[in-house]
């Protein structure tokens, strides 16, 4: 029987590969995700490990706290004198001190900043005398040795046409300065450092450029032979101030990895989620393809039964087939994933996430998970069709037609379908609206509910196939004439089959619609907030949207004739009331550029903050039971503590504000942040927005290559770019599921063409042309795709409306992106046309005579 099943599979290679395609893509996504994230992790590992090569012990700056999600926390530097003390220790063989910065922007030849796509523009000192510690290696030229000299990374050099001997602008902690390129370097052991750039300087030059004269960020130490690392660490510890710490190299690597946070894990889970969606859609396609194939093999199963095959043997022969198809598809998907990893990385680079790449990692875990998941999904999807195959009665061997018998439960079908749908809706509603439940329970209810909702809609879809076909098929009829009418009727001939084919597409379109509406909501609430708050003429920001810009850029505008008022918003971190928060610094003039809706106090508050006052949003104040005059102890990154008093509260727009949880004066902010940075600087001009004023201001910040002058409208537009890019990324990732469902339509149509061979022959015999035959199949495909689109858009809109309603407290508003949805419908039509190409060609190619004799 095993041999029979295998032979059967071999005899239906084409149909089997149609089934397999649905799994291949999902598995490729799993494998691609693992390969990509492992390769990125490997890249970071190599970078971190290389950074401390040959070092036994590392001294580094220590911030009082970390802020993983909000503004960065600048790690404080420590005095250079520590290096002298360390070198004096008897157990130290070699010690090298260096300074580092993640704010060293190199300029292109046209004076614009080299875009790092969100990655840090790194800079550090190298001392050629300590090559053993140097994580980089030269690819051309030599190391920088004196003032005005720099070595730059090979990627920046290649991308911008820089060669040894060229002049390059470098900007760090102030206006850009000119340097001479002495060498091109690369990070040892990684194929790409992602978007991150690096510039290398001689120690003294680096200290001056980074604003760290007399200070160090890092000391790498090699101990004398035979000295234990622990012993050395304990010798160094007493020498250090509170802003520095000592670790062995291994611990330091671990510590550096922590700085990545859970970003790569998050990336991995997110991508796996999309793989999961593709596989979920794939399982619909497999189940549908298999049940059609099995219906077509009714006579074969019945014959097997008449010559003595038991139900179990029939079941196993189908399951075995699925097992092999799943296994082969998974293996193909696994290797396809290697290529997909590269495509995914390109995709991320395109949306501005450019991460380092080590050597490609193809882990055992990747292989096991990919093959296991792909095979199990196929197997599970085959169970229902396999069970139906066992119900084929032997008498079907002597009867015409290929209709599977109904299940014992068939009469409860409509009720079950309705119950599933209602339970799903209830679960989603509970999850989205019952805010009294714990968040985890809510998310679980939504997740389960959405899953069940897809099943529920798909189970009920068969009943709306006829009315939907009547509406959606109407154009086909008027455009297509007879083939159009036949196509519409064909689509309704087996409503269950059409419904489950369309359901696969529904899932993808529902998610895409959800994303579109949700994104529209995000944009709308952001725009609302900006329109409420932003009353200045111009905003000065960094070219990298939400990256901060050195405070010196804004300061350079003060007193310039074009700028009548310059109002900076500093951004930093501080710890108060038990946790780390974003904190902002403003000046007395902020009410003239930002509309503050005061709850307590008035526009005079910012002017009275002085060295011990702050204001906050009324929400934060209420949540933490703060009143005007309440004292709050605030700790800055370098560890200093200051007691502040609340001076006022303002109503924060639901779409957010540029302020952190505490707003203090720039005077106080700058006292505790040696190299202060602005989130933005708001600027008023004597006579409002005009081309002349824009030009004057742009001229004013000319020295700062990363500075950008924007009006309110421009600010909204550029600020929305990240949202739009994220949406586009989500669309692309969801497109994978749509492609899987496209294969589902192809499968159904191809199998339908097999099934209707005799009928197609008859139609051709009575005068249907090849072209009309193709049209008929194409229209049927489009009608099916449009059904999927209609269901998907309805489900997606429902889910989005629900979630947005639940989040309306966060300022999200429901807004239907009509044009986007129109594009989705057009995309569905394209899917229908593409899906029909192969089946239509097969149908048109049929030999009329042979087709008529086909059984």
């Amino acid at each position: 029987m095993v041999a029979v099943a295998l032979k059967g599979l071999a005899g239906r290679k084409f149909r089997a590969s149609l089934t397999a395609l649905a799994v291949v893509l999902g598995v490729a996504m799993i494998s691609g995700t693992y390969v990509l994230t492992d390769t990125i992790n490997n890249g970071f590992d190599t970078i971190f490990t290389q950074s401390y090569k040959n070092a036994d012990v590392i001294i580094s700056g220590k911030a009082a706290f970390e802020n993983v999600e909000g503004n960065g926390v600048e790690t404080p530097s420590f005095p250079e004198s520590i290096l002298t003390k360390v070198r004096a220790l008897p157990d130290v063989a070699v010690a090298e001190g260096s300074v580092t910065s993640d704010q060293v922007r190199m300029l292109k030849k046209n004076g614009k900043v080299v875009d790092t796509g969100g990655a840090p523009p790194l800079g550090f000192s190298v001392d050629p005398r300590f090559q053993r510690f140097n994580p980089t290696e030269l690819t051309a030229g030599e190391w920088p040795r004196g003032p005005g000299q720099v070595a730059i990374d090979n990627h920046t050099a290649d991308a911008n046409g820089y060669k040894v001997g060229d002049a390059i602008g470098v900007q760090s902690n102030g206006a850009a300065k000119q340097f001479r390129i002495t060498g091109i370097a690369k990070f040892s052991g990684v194929s790409s450092t992602g978007g991150a750039t690096f510039a290398l300087f001689a120690p003294k030059t680096a200290q001056e450029l980074f604003g760290k004269v007399g200070q160090l960020d890092l000391i790498r130490i090699q101990s004398k032979a035979g000295v234990s690392t622990n012993k050395l660490v304990s010798q160094i510890k007493p020498l250090l101030p509170t802003t520095a710490t000592v670790r062995n190299a291994e611990q330091q690597v671990k510590e550096d990895k922590k700085s990545l946070g859970s970003f790569i894990d998050f990336l991995q889970y997110a991508l796996l989620a999309f793989a999961g969606i593709a596989l979920f859609v794939g399982s619909f396609v497999i189940a549908n393809t298999l049940s059609i194939t099995i219906a077509q093999r009714t006579r074969e199963f019945a014959t097997l039964r008449t010559i003595g095959a038991s139900r179990r043997q029939v079941l196993w022969s189908v399951v075995l087939e699925a097992l092999i198809v799943g296994l082969v598809a998974s293996i193909v998907g696994l290797f396809l994933g290697l290529g997909l990893a590269k495509v995914l990385n390109r995709l991320f680079v395109a949306v501005g996430i450019d991460l380092p790449q080590g050597n490609t990692v193809f882990a055992t875990r990747t292989i096991i998970v990919s093959i296991l998941v792909g095979t199990v999904i196929t197997l599970v999807a085959s169970l229902r069709p396999a069970r139906r195959a066992t119900r084929v009665p032997p008498i079907a061997a002597v009867r015409e037609g290929s209709v599977l018998p109904e299940s014992r439960w068939a009469k409860y079908g409509p009720v079950t379908a309705l119950v599933v749908l209602l339970v799903a809706i209830a679960l989603v509603c509970v999850g989205a609206l019952a805010s009294s439940l714990p968040t985890a329970t809510q998310l679980l209810a939504i997740g389960l509910g959405v899953l069940l909702l897809f099943f529920g809609v798909s189970m009920n879809a068969a009943r709306v196939v006829r009315p939907l076909a009547a509406v959606l098929g109407a154009p086909a009829r008027s455009i297509g004439g007879a083939p159009g009418i036949l196509a519409r009727d064909n689509a309704t001939r087996n409503p269950a089959r059409t419904a489950s084919t369309a359901s696969a597409l529904m899932i993808g379109l529902a998610l895409v619609t959800f994303v579109a509406i949700f994104g529209q909501g995000l944009r709308a609430s952001f725009e609302d907030a900006v329109n409420k708050l932003f009353i200045a003429d111009y905003a000065l920001t960094s070219t990298g949207n939400f990256q901060p810009i050195s405070a010196k850029a804004g300061e350079s505008l003060v007193g310039k004739p074009g700028a009548s008022l310059v109002s900076p918003i500093r951004a930093g971190s501080a710890r108060f009331l038990g946790s780390v928060h974003d904190i902002s610094g403003v000046q007395a003039n902020i009410p003239e550029t930002v509309h503050l809706d005061w709850k307590q106090g008035n526009d005079s508050v910012p002017g009275k903050l002085g060295s011990n006052g702050f204001f906050t949003s009324s929400k934060y104040a209420d949540d933490h039971d703060l009143h005007v005059g309440s004292p709050v102890s605030v700790q800055f990154p370098a560890g200093e503590r200051v007691k502040l008093r609340l001076r006022g509260t303002y109503e924060e727009p639901k779409g957010g504000s540029p302020f952190g949880d505490a707003v203090i004066s720039t005077t106080l902010f700058d006292k505790h942040n040696p190299r202060p940075q602005d989130l933005m600087v708001l600027v008023n001009t004597p006579d409002g927005v005009s081309d002349a004023n824009t030009a004057t201001l742009e001229d004013g910040v000319r020295g700062f290559a990363d500075a950008k002058i924007q009006t309110r409208g421009e600010f909204i537009k550029t600020s929305e770019e990240p949202i739009n890019r994220l949406l586009n990324l989500l669309y692309v990732l969801l497109a994978l599921s749509v492609i899987v469902s496209l294969f589902g339509i192809v499968n159904t149509l191809v199998l339908t063409v097999f099934e209707r061979t005799r009928e197609l022959g008859m139609l051709r015999a009575v005068g249907m042309t090849r072209r009309q035959t193709r049209m008929m199949i194409r229209y049927e495909s489009i009608v099916t795709a449009l059904m999927g689109a209609a269901l998907g858009i309805a489900v997606g809109t429902f889910l989005a409306a629900l979630v947005i309603h639940a989040l309306s407290g966060e300022g999200l508003v429901f807004s239907f992106p009509v044009m986007t949805i129109v594009y989705f419908v057009l995309a569905a039509i394209v899917v229908g046309i593409l899906a029909a190409i192969l089946p239509a060609r097969r149908a048109a190619r049929l030999n009329v005579l042979e087709a008529l004799q086909y059984e």
Partner: protein, 259 residues
């Protein structure tokens, strides 16, 4: 996937056992309900003799196919019962019927019902493959010779003519030496020359192997090879003829006023 739920194949035409192989008692079969109900069988009693070829004839709609389906355990009677090889069919579950099929029943179909991806030899051996038995080598080789397919062993059905396909089907029905072979219009899909060859082969299998066979047909020439011809009309056996010439069969059919 092999399962050994079947006992070894019994000897065809076991001389130790006598008496009928298949008995039907007052079989009725009603399709549908109420006003639209159709009575396909209206009380058929029947005994199929061991080692003989019994033909069931009748015009379309006479109930002959229904009768065979019920005798072969493919369908269940509305009333009455069938005893096949000493077992009362109505009381059996799916597993027991499967066992019974493996041991006692062979099928020959109008449309051959071969598995397209298997070779002729594999198709013939399929019943033993399914039951997990070892095929009897000598018996199988003899069978191949009898049906004349020695040089077509590795051909697939698509590469065989209709007559050759039906030969494969006959060999498949005989391979496990079932107690009774049921043939459903075995010549219904063949031209007259090929039909003759197939009928000769079937007659031969009864004569040489003593294979009990029940054949449903509406072809008088097919019926003419039978040892006994039962005529069905309107769900009842109306005539029971011994072996006759085709002309006599045609005359009998004319008397029934049909075909």
């Amino acid at each position: 996937m092999s399962e050994s739920i079947a006992a070894p194949a019994t000897q065809v035409a076991d001389d130790a056992t006598t008496g009928p192989v298949v008995e039907a008692h007052q079989l009725t079969r009603r399709y549908g309900e109420g006003d639209t109900a159709v009575d396909a069988l209206r009380g058929v009693d029947l005994e199929v003799e061991r080692g003989k070829l019994t033909a069931v004839m009748g015009p379309s709609g006479s109930g002959k196919s229904t009768l065979m389906h019920i005798l072969a355990a493919l369908d269940k009677p509305t009333d009455g019962y069938v005893v096949l090889a000493g077992t009362k069919l109505g009381e059996l579950g799916d597993t027991e019927i499967t066992k019974l099929r493996r041991k006692h029943i062979g099928f020959i179909f109008q449309f051959f019902n071969l598995l397209p991806m298997l070779t002729a030899e594999e198709n013939i051996l399929l019943p033993t493959t399914i039951s997990g038995e070892k095929p009897d080598k000598d018996w199988f080789e003899g069978l191949m010779k009898t049906v004349g397919l020695q040089d077509r062993r590795t051909h697939r059905p698509a590469e065989l003519s209709g007559g050759q396909q039906q030969r494969v089907a006959i060999a498949r029905a005989l391979v496990s030496r079932p107690t009774v072979v049921f043939a459903d219009e075995p010549t219904g899909n063949l031209d007259s020359k090929t039909s003759e060859e197939i009928l000769e082969l079937m007659r031969n299998s009864v004569d040489s192997y003593g294979q009990t066979t029940v054949m449903v047909t509406h072809d008088p020439r097919a019926a003419a090879i039978a040892d006994r011809i039962l005529f069905l009309a309107d769900g009842l056996i109306v005539r029971d003829m011994p072996r006759s010439e085709p002309s006599a069969v045609i005359a009998a059919m004319d008397e029934l006023g049909a075909d």
